[in-house]
Amino acid sequence: MKKIIYLLLTALLMISFFGCEKESYVAKFDKLPQERMKAQIDSVKNILTSADNGWIGTLPTAQGGGYAFYMQFDKEGYVNMVADLTDQTATKVKKSEYRIRQDMGAALTFGTYTYISILNNPDTSAFHSPDVGKGFKSDINFIYDHSSEDSMVFIGKRYRQPFSLVKATAAQKDKYMNGGYLTAIDKWKTYFINHPNLYFDYNNDLKVSVEANSGNSMNAGKRITFTALYGKDSIASVTQLFAFTVDQMAILHGGLEFDGISFVKIAWKDANTLALYDNTGKEYVLKNSPTPLLPLYMLWGTKYNGMLSDYMQIYPGTSDKGADILSFYHQNLCGYLRYCFDRGRLEFVWDIINHRLSLKGIEEQTSNGGSWTTTVTFNYTVDDNGVYTFTLRDDFDGGYVGDIMIPLKDFLLNNKVKFDYYVDGADVYGAMESVDDPSIAMTFVLQK
C-alpha cells in the first residue's frame, strides 16, 4: 500500500511540475494575434489616408516595363489616381475603390477598375500585352511589407513585384492633379528624342551610353539601358525598368546596377540638363554625343535598320567616285531604262540574324501612283575591325531598275567595305567607304 501511495505521490509531484505547464504560458506579445492584426490593418489604413498630399507610387511589372502613379487615399475607401501609362491616364484623375484587409498580413486591394488594373487586365485590347490572359503580369492585390516615416512598400500578391509609395509634397500633388504630370512626362520624352546619343562619363575613361525606351511595348517599353564599349568590341549592356514620376525617371528594382553601382534615377540638374544619380546621391551629368558611342556597324539591326539615298540626293561626305555610283542610279531613272520613272530612291536593309544585306531600288511614276521595287541581296561577313565582305546571294529581282543599280552592286562585290558616321553640323549620316580604295565613299541617311 505504501508503495502505491509513494507511486501516486510521485505522479502527483510530476504533474505538479509538468502537467500544468500551460498555466505558465507567457505571451510573446502584449496583444492577441487578432488584436495585432487588426492594429496593423488600422495602421496601414491610417498611414495611407493620413498623407495629406497623397503618395507617389512606382510599380515594376513582371512582364512589361515600370509604371508610376500618384494616389490619394481617403478614409471612405476611395482612391484618386493618375498614372504614366498614357496621356489620358496622366491627366484624367480616376476615382476607384480600395480596401485594406487581412491576407498574409495586411493587404491593399484595388476593388474597382482603375489605372493600376490596366496592367493586370488579361485582355490584349486593354493595353499592350500580346499574351492572351496575362496582361503585363501585374497585381491589384498587394501585401503590406514595411513603411517608414514617409514611405510604404507593398508586395504584389501573385507576381511579387514591389509597389513602393513615397509621400508627395503639396507642390507635387498640385502638379499631379492639375495636368503638370503629362507636361513633365512630355518634357522627359522630348529631351530624349532631341538628344539621341546621351551618355555619362564614368571614371574619367569610359563613356556609358544611356537609352530610355518610353513606349509601352510589353517586351521593350519603359526600360532604360546603359551600354559601354570596352576596347574594340567588348560591350557591357545592362537594362532596368523605369517609370516617370512628376520630377524624376525612377529606376525601379533598387536601381540599375552598373560596375557595382546602383543608379536610381534621372532628374533635371537644371532647366536644360539631365543628370543621373546613384543611390549615394552622386551625380552624373548626361551629355549628348553627336554620334552614337558605339561604332555604326555594331548598331545595324538594333539602333539602325538601314540607310537611304533619297531621290537625286548626294549627301555631304560623298566622294566624287561615290557620287558617280549614286548618280548613275538617280540620273538614269528616266531616259536610260525601258520606262521613265520620275522619282526613286535607294535603300539598304540589314538582316543581322541571317547576315544579309538587301539593296533596294524603288522606282515611282507619280502621275499614276505606281511604285516598284528592285532588290538585290548579299551575304556578308564582318571581321573584328568592322570590315565587311559581300557576296551575291540573290541577283536583281522585281521592278525595272536593276540596270542602273549595277555600279552600286559591283562596288559592294568588288570592295571590302567599312561603315562609320559622317557628321555635318547637326546632321549625322552613315558613311560607306571602300577599304581597298578610300577615295570611294558614299553617305546616306540612317534609318531606324
Binding site: M1, K2, I4, I5, L8, L9, A11, L12, I15, S16, G19, C20, K22, E23, Y25, A27, L32, P33, Q34, M37, K38, I41, E76, G77, S96, E97, R99, R101, Q102, T109, F110, G111, T112, Y113, S117, N120, N121, P122, D123, A126, V132, G133, K134, G135, K137, I140, N141, K157, R158
Partner: protein, 460 residues
Amino acid sequence: MKNKIIFRITAVLLMCAVLQACNKESFTPIDMSELNPDVAKKNTPLDQWLQKNFLDPYNSEVIYRNHMYYHESDRNVSPPNVDAVKPMMTSVLEGFVKPYDDVAGVDFMKKNMPRQWVLYGSTSYDGSGVGYAGTASGGVRINLFGINSFSLSPGFIKGRLGVIHHEFTHILNQRFIMPADFQEITKSTYNGNWTDVATEDAHNWGYVSAYASQNPTEDFAETTKALLVSGQSWFDAWVLSSGSAEGQTALRAKEQSVVSYFNSSLNIDFRKLQKEVQTYIKDVVKDPSVNFKYWLNAGLYKTITINLGDEIYTQFPVSQEFIDGFNAMKQAVADFNSVYTMNYIEFRFESSTSLVVRAQFTNTDGDAYYSDYSFSYTLDASTGEIHFTKVAQASGTTFDNGNLFINTFKNTIQKYLEENTFIAKWMPKDAPASMYTHVAGFYEQNTPENKIYGTTGEQL
C-alpha cells in the same frame, strides 16, 4: 486505516491535478474570425440600386468589387469599371429577370433566382487562352466577365444573356428534373470530349452547338438558351440547315421536349417566355437577326398564308382594302363556277426577287386548285421596306387559272400591293405568344395600323 486515508487523499489530489493540469482557461484563444471575411461593402447609390433591384426582391447578391477568391487563382481577372455595373445588371433585369417575372411570376424568381452575381471587368482566360464571357458555380452563382466592354450590342448582350439563360436552366433542372425523353433523343452521340466535335458534325447529329453534344444536361441548357436567346427563327433555320434528316428530327424533338418541360413541369408558358426575351433583344438590343425582315431576306420564310376565315383576323383585322380584295376574289371564283370556293391567299417567295401571289380554291369534293399571279419584289433588309410589282404572268396551269380572274385581281389585290409601300414585321406586341414567328406580314408604311399578315411557312 491511516494508509487508506492517505491513499484516498492522494488519489483525490491526483484526480484534481489531472483535471486541472490541462486547464483550458489558461489557453490563449486566437480568433481571426472577425478579420477573415473580406466584406467589401459600401452604400453607394449603385449599391442601393442593386439592393433594391436584386437583394431585396430576390435575395440575390451582386458582387462587383474585386475579390480574388471568387475566380480561379491561376487567372488574372480584372474588376469592373463601376460605370459598367448598372447597365450590365439592367440588361440582366430586362433580358432575364423580367421575362421570367412576367411569365412565371415574381414568386418563382424569388425562389429560383441565382443567389449571387459576380461581375468582372475583363474576360477570364483559361490556361490554353480560351476566354470566357460567363460561367456558373454550384447552381447558385453566375459569373459575368468582360463587362468593361459593355454595350447594348447584340454581340455583347446576347453572349451574356446566353450564359445566364443556359446556367439558369441548370438551376431549374436541379429543382425540377429534366425530362427523361430528352436524354434519349441523341443518346448515342453524346461525347465527353466535346472540344473534339466539329460544330458541323454536332449540327448534323441534332445539337445546337458542339458544347451541347457533351451530355444531356448541357444539351438541354444549350437548346433552351438557343430557343430563348438566339430565337425561334434562328432555331428553325438551324433545323433546316442540318445536314441529316435524323438531325432535323432530333432538333425538333428536343425543342418539343424543352417546351413541354417548361409548360408542364414548371408551369411556365415557354412560348410567352421566348417572346418576352426576344422582344427585349429586338426592341432594346436592336438585334436585326430577330426580325422578320432579316429572316425573310435570308430566305427562311417562304410563304405567308392569309385565310380571313381564321378567328385571329377578328382580333387583329387586316387592311379593309385587302379584305375587300380578298372578298372580291372570293366572289369572282364563286361567280366563275359555284362549285368553287376560294379559301386563302398566299404570298410565295420563290427567290430574293420573285413572288407568286396565289389564290387557293377547292371544289365541292375538296380538290384543291390554284390561281397564281407573278410579281417581283424588292426588300430592304435593314428597314424592312418591301415593294411589290406585277410582272408578266409565268406560264403553266396555275397561271392560266390566274388569268381567269385577272381583272378582279388587278383591280383589287394587285392594286393594293402595287400602290403601297410596306414594312415587313412580326405581329404587334399584344398578339398571342403562340403567334410569335409563326405569323407575320406587311404594314403599310404611311398607315401602319393597316396591314396584311398571315401564317409563315418555311417550305414552298
